[in-house]
């Protein structure tokens, strides 16, 4: 049934459909509505679940770690500074191979203080060893949340579902919420074979000397690489039940023979689809949606970029002193291609700045430059910057 639901409320309903047993969270804008909605579902008796209202994001992540290690399906959510405060625990959850799901309501990192959307928070966590899936709209946020539990539990890896704060979390969209029967048929009850249990006591979190550390990292790395198949399969299987796909690891939309492509991640994809319709005279353009940032689908990306002469990478975060984060990864993945497209890398929409439709012609114009743009912030207004800082 299709309802107009706010993004946060829709994600909360999707989480509830997955029958979580322990939820722990600490409030932070713009994630707060998700856990508020879950608290209401519990208060109304619609969800049987232990909700632990902790004193920090650090403890939120630690509580769900302990709960999932004890065999309970667990959920948490955060954003921005909260994700950064969790950092040490996020690495630990991944290293211990604890399956759980976290929603990151993407938000900029201070300083300067900002409460608005960009993707600096989750991008800063890309090396933590989590699976990271980005949502283009709220329907994808719902479907990805449900898929995330199956991916996490089959691969014994934690999954971070990233949805743009405010742009998605605080926006009403028509959402097709699946039924409990649909979710139950897709997601079996959680069984963790390494669960803490006095009848078969195991030690989790050993000290590992140099003699074994490389092997532990090897296993973790390869588990993430293998999870690519799990992510693709979950999307296909869920499509059979729901009739909807989220685009697997990476998906492409546009005419076969287009020589220009724009790759992006998250909710800006919607702007790009609309802009392409708005400006049909600007030529054939493939729009490439990167859904899985970790594991990074290098080979699949080479496949969707075949035949392109220009590839524009648009992202909502940057590595200061380096440049684009997604851009650098895309460039590294495509450098073996023969012929490889020229790559133009832009950040825009930082700290909640609007990305209007006119960004589309601006990107296509920039791609005509004789020299490809290695990296630039597209929508920077230098009149607001002191002369000596320009």
């Amino acid at each position: 049934m299709i309802d107009a639901i706010e993004g946060s409320a829709a994600v909360a309903r999707a989480v509830a459909l997955c029958r979580p047993q322990v939820i722990a969270a600490y409030p932070i804008t713009p994630q707060t509505h998700i856990v508020e909605n879950l608290a209401q579902l519990i208060a109304d008796g619609k969800l049987r679940c232990e909700m632990v209202s902790v004193e920090s994001e650090f403890s939120a992540a630690s509580v769900v770690l302990g709960a999932a290690a004890s065999g309970a399906r667990a959920y948490t959510a955060s954003a921005a500074q909260g994700i950064l405060l969790m950092t040490e625990v996020l690495y630990n959850i991944a290293g211990l191979r604890i399956p759980l799901v976290l929603t990151c309501a993407n938000r900029a990192i201070g300083a300067p203080v900002s409460a608005w959307n960009d993707q600096q928070d989750s991008m800063a966590m890309r090396d933590a060893g989590w699976i990271q899936l980005y949502c283009a709209d709220n329907q994808e946020a719902v479907d990805t949340t449900i898929q995330a539990y199956r991916i996490a539990e089959r691969s014994e890896l934690p999954v971070m579902v990233c949805m743009d704060g405010f742009t998605l979390t605080h926006t009403l969209e028509p959402i097709d919420l699946p039924t409990q029967e649909q979710v139950d048929s897709f997601l079996p009850p959680y069984r963790f074979k390494r669960a803490l249990d006095p009848l078969s006591p195991i030690t989790i979190g050993n000290l590992v000397t140099p003699e074994y550390y490389s092997e532990a990292r090897y296993v973790h790395h390869h588990a993430l690489l293998r999870a690519r198949a799990e992510i693709a399969a979950a999307d296909q299987d869920w499509a059979r039940i729901s009739g909807r796909t989220c685009g697997g690891l990476v998906s492409v939309d546009g005419p076969e023979d287009a020589r220009v492509g724009i790759l992006s991640i998250g909710s800006v994809m919607g702007t790009l689809y609309d802009a392409r319709d708005e400006f049909p005279d600007l030529g054939a353009v493939k729009l490439i949606k990167l859904r899985s940032m970790r594991p990074f689908p290098a080979e699949e990306l080479q496949g969707v970029c075949a035949g392109l002469s220009e590839l524009i990478v648009l992202e909502r975060a940057l590595s200061p002193g380096g440049g684009g984060i997604v851009g650098a990864e895309v460039r590294a993945a495509l450098c073996e291609m023969e012929p490889a497209p020229r790559i133009h890398n832009f950040a825009a929409g930082l700290g909640g700045r609007d990305m209007p439709l006119k960004i589309y012609p601006a990107l296509l114009e920039a791609a005509k430059a004789p020299q490809a743009t290695r990296f630039a912030i597209l929508d920077v207004d230098l009149t607001k910057v002191a002369e000596e800082d320009r």
Binding site: Q21, V22, A24, R48, C49, E50, V52, S53, V54, E55, S56, F58, S59, A60, S62, V63, V64, L65, G66, A67, A68, A69, S70, G71, A72, A74, E88, V89, N92, L96, L196, D197, P198, L199, S200, P201, I202, T203, I204, G205, N206, L207, V208, T209, Y212
Partner: protein, 331 residues
């Protein structure tokens, strides 16, 4: 979810409890390690039906080097500062699953007094049904004897050394039990490895009570305190008998009992056995001043908790765990 776990087998395990040892032999602790002894006594008192969340520290390092483990109970180590939160999550999971298994968190004074204090406060405030045991060896021993907020005033550590202008640690040992008491949790106590029956009784009490419980276990460290490993018990006992480490119990933040001291010893008897206080016995006015100060701290404890007693008692500081004197042993 309760059907997933075989309660009959758990009952069988519990019948074996007196012989059960949660922390087995073969670990890598130093000879005379108070924490290793403390962990053994605590896990013996708990029995097999438990899940342990352990903070980073000596106990974690000397028991869990891959591919070996000294733990016979399910045990998880996550980080230095989050053992109380991990334990909270385990407890929440068990509650949903309907499993009666006990949850215990273990940490050192670094993980408890300092870096993990916020998570501990959260766990206590939410009154999770978890017993938190802190093995207090009064410094960061795992990283090479650096001062913690639990290090006693004037003790030498590698970050509070004796120098021309310093007499060891400049600050007082944090009064953690008062902080714990301020959370008004059902049960909190101090104990020591020198009095095993008292320690076991307090651990059992903490487990029986519904809600959060806390036990602080004074645990000598021959390496960090610089004393003979053979004297660990003697040193720990003197900490009690001088009044420097009072053994008390609190219910809902109120002191309800204290182990009485029949013959109070001067603090120098405790201090002179340990190299970390060696500089206090130099012929210098500042050394004499610090000795006096430490004696005053002990005197304050004796008054505050009314620790002195003239009448022999089965569980006073001289009788407990001494069969020869007619006291209770291995109760």
């Amino acid at each position: 979810m309760a059907s997933d776990f075989d309660h009959e087998s758990i009952a069988e395990l519990q019948r074996k409890q007196p012989a059960f040892r949660g922390l087995d032999a073969g670990h890598m602790a130093c000879p005379g390690c108070g924490q290793a002894l403390g962990a053994r006594l605590v896990t013996e008192a708990i029995g097999p039906d438990v899940i342990i969340a352990n903070a980073t520290g000596c106990l974690e390092v000397f028991t869990s080097a891959w591919p070996r483990s000294s733990w016979r109970v399910p045990w998880i180590h996550s980080l230095f500062e989050n053992a109380p939160a991990v334990a909270s999550g385990i407890e929440a999971a068990l509650k949903v699953q309907g499993r009666p298994t006990k949850v215990v968190a273990l940490g050192g004074d670094g993980g408890t007094f300092d870096i993990g204090l916020q998570a501990l406060s959260g766990m206590l405030e939410r009154n999770h049904n978890v017993l938190y045991v802190c093995f207090d060896n009064e410094a960061y021993m795992n990283t090479g004897v650096q001062r913690s907020s639990s290090t006693p005033h004037a003790a030498m550590t590698t970050t509070s050394p004796r120098g021309k202008q310093r007499m060891g640690k400049r600050h007082l040992k944090k009064d953690l039990l008062s902080i714990i008491g301020a959370h008004h949790i059902p049960y909190a106590a101090t104990a020591t490895v020198a009095y095993p029956s008292d320690l076991r009784a307090k651990v059992r009490r903490g487990l029986e009570i519904e809600g959060a419980a806390f036990v602080l276990v004074h645990s000598p460290c021959p390496l960090g305190w610089d004393h003979d490993g053979a004297l660990s018990i003697e040193v720990a006992r003197l900490a009690v008998q001088t009044g420097l480490f009072p053994l008390i119990e609190m219910e809902r933040g109120t002191v309800v009992s204290a182990m009485h001291i029949r013959s109070v010893r001067p603090v120098v008897d405790y201090l002179k056995l340990q190299g970390r206080f060696r500089h206090l016995f130099e012929d210098a006015p500042e050394a004499r001043e610090e000795l006096q100060h430490l004696q005053q701290i002990a005197n304050h404890n004796l008054e505050l908790y009314a620790l002195r007693s003239d009448q022999p008692e089965a569980l006073d500081s001289e009788s407990a765990d001494t069969a020869r004197r007619g006291g209770l042993r291995w109760s």
